[in-house]
Symmetry: C2
Subunit: 393 residues, 2 copies
């Protein structure tokens, strides 16, 4: 049968994102045994393709029923022993949450905080690393609360220069599949994400990839891992087993979601991953130009060089607030997100542009629809762009 | 559109189970915001209906992306403080795994072990409770590895008589939706399960329900909860929020799976839950009669009174093994499960009969198909039932 998903409002929040008919149809696959030959092959291929997306040869994927949040537990419970020092590079809401999670597992956390719209600089990082020895440094690649894009390549460079034993952990929840990530080349020790953003699959999967160095560290830790479900030692035989075609049981895998992920990863890896990054970047440049130049609005990230390619965070114009924009877009069939970062919660809104919304531009015109609606809604709210003509960018 | 799932082999392992077209179609729902009004209502209703299934008024559901295994982490991380004593009633593989999980969180575990095919007796339990004071007692309602059915009503009665402060935790992974459970009437403190068995939904959800007493205990514990993702304190505002129509964020919920669960729970709660239990019981009696009387095979559970209603675990006849049965059933389009309990792993097989396979007997004839195929495969393997005529049961 040809499956077409039901008519629905266009979802352009920074995740979950719009999902293709093929992916949704796979999510409605008939029941099959999690130990069957065919599912084992599917899962094995998923593990291999996830490596391709992260451009890693020897990274060890862990793909588990859960959410992005569970990835933090995986990092913290496996890599942290009580009393270990962790440095969290903070560029928004999610740095604080990751901190809470690390502390739960006994880490002593130092946060390198940047003001809203900024991320810590190379110099600040180098200084922090010289002041104290850290077991791990964590980076939120794209902080979904601010749309600020960090630079994991540079961060990893600095860490490897100043403190080569320190592990680099990339929270790629809002970046894997939409931002450039080269796990091996950049010497990242962990990259973690979820299914519902750049990977274009419904929510319900936690995806983590650990370097050989990270795995060795877990295998040689002095204290026991303080989690059962998040313990890599419990999942390692499972992931290795499925990849080798021999299913191993620890917990029943989310069969249909793995099938959906399989379809999405097949599509993603059918072309060079660089093309996917470039498409996200181009769509982002176009959309941000529309927002700043045509609409005259201000982005939350302080500088274009630190603005995410998969989402845009925008301040409301003076005199307007969420109630003038969000419900009116909804009436026009477009779902965007309000603010999340508590310091500026009511002052801005967020729009996601990831996955098929930017890749499938022949049959879909998602961002055109968003632009039209945003233009109309702002007009209807009486907003006039006073910067037009003055903008030299 | 009318959705029909693809042709596929009949899945009659003890979970995942066959899922209805309506449930699968809901699992292919278009993307929607996890904070939207409509999803909030769906999730709120799911929480309320889950209470109905467990026949509890004030139990607090936690419905989270994960698997049954994550439910153990929830129990252990929330209810156990380091050094707490736990008593695990062991009726198969899953008692040992629950023990491993409890120990991970610092519990001192005593296992009350029964031989394969048995479960601990009322007297053994009373004796154990008199010998030591336990914080919690855990029971595997149906141990999927043996098909042994424990009696949580009686167990809870004994616990409340002998050691009223001890919490009773029911692992209902292979029983919720297929076996009688009355959480309030039986004074159970936790019931935990997963989506892919008696609830008739694809795998990927961990469902836990905690009594008011259990929640109070968590809120007044002396040490911090040793998990972030499994901490009820992190999920409480989320569950209460969605139920009250006000979405709260901790982790992105698995939207499509919650929609699928909504459809299944609507169907389940549209009739008195007692009818559902009775249908499972009747189907089980019929199937077990076929297995023992017509085929002359022996069940793993030692006595019919401790045999699960949602599955049957059967010893191979002398001279036959898995390779004579399992692949030949597969050729006939029927997927059953081999052995799991390590003491008897190669000596038995398992067949599940839960959900639509036993409820929807007008349009489906799942168990008839299984019976026919099993009869044929055994015949083809040269098996003759020598007990026919001698069987007085």
């Amino acid at each position: 049968m040809t499956f077409h998903q039901s008519e629905h409002s266009l979802l352009v929040i920074p995740g979950p994102i719009e999902v293709s008919d093929d992916v949704l149809f796979a999510n409605a696959s008939p029941s099959q045994s999690h130990m069957s030959k065919s599912f084992t092959q599917t899962f094995g291929e998923v593990i291999k393709m996830f490596r391709q997306v992260l451009v890693t040869e020897h990274g060890q994927p862990f793909i588990v029923a859960g959410s992005g949040t569970l990835g933090w537990d995986m990092v913290a419970s496996n890599l942290i022993e009580p009393g270990d020092e962790a440095l969290v590079l903070h560029s928004g809401y999610f740095g604080q949450s990751f901190t809470d999670c690390l502390e739960t597992y006994g880490a002593k956390v130092t946060q390198l905080k940047a003001p809203v719209g900024h991320c810590p600089s190379r110099e600040e990082l180098a200084q922090a690393l010289k002041a104290k020895k850290y077991k791990i440094v964590t980076v939120t690649h794209v902080d979904t609360s601010t749309g600020v894009l960090s630079n994991p390549r540079v961060i990893s460079e600095v860490v490897h220069e100043v403190s080569p034993d320190t592990l680099v952990v990339l929270d790629g929840v809002c970046s894997v599949g939409s931002e450039e990530i080269r796990m091996d080349e950049w010497s990242l020790d962990v990259v973690m994400c979820a299914s519902q953003k750049g990977l274009g699959v419904p929510p319900g999967l936690s995806l983590v990839c650990a370097s050989e160095r990270a795995i060795r560290l877990v295998e040689t830790r002095k204290t026991k891992i303080n989690s059962y479900f998040a313990s890599w030692l419990n999942w390692l035989p499972v992931m290795r087993g499925y990849e080798q075609g021999k299913p191993v049981y620890f917990a029943t895998p989310p069969v249909q979601l793995i099938c959906a992920l399989h379809v999405s990863l097949k599509e993603i890896t059918s072309k060079p991953i660089q093309e996917r990054w470039a498409k996200h970047q181009q769509a982002s440049i176009d959309f941000k130009q529309f927002v700043t130049d045509e609409l005259g609005l201000k982005q939350v990230p302080n500088d274009p060089s630190i603005a995410a390619n998969g989402m845009t965070a925008i301040y409301f114009p003076d005199g307007l607030s969420a109630s003038d924009i969000v419900p009116r877009l909804l009436e026009r069939g477009i779902v965007i997100a309000g603010g999340l970062h508590k310091e500026i919660k009511d002052k801005y809104f967020r729009i996601g542009h990831m996955g098929i919304s930017v890749i499938d531009t022949t049959t879909r015109h998602d961002l055109e629809k968003v632009k039209d609606a945003l233009r109309n809604v702002l007009n209807a709210a009486g907003y006039v762009n006073k910067t037009v003509g003055n903008n030299t960018k």
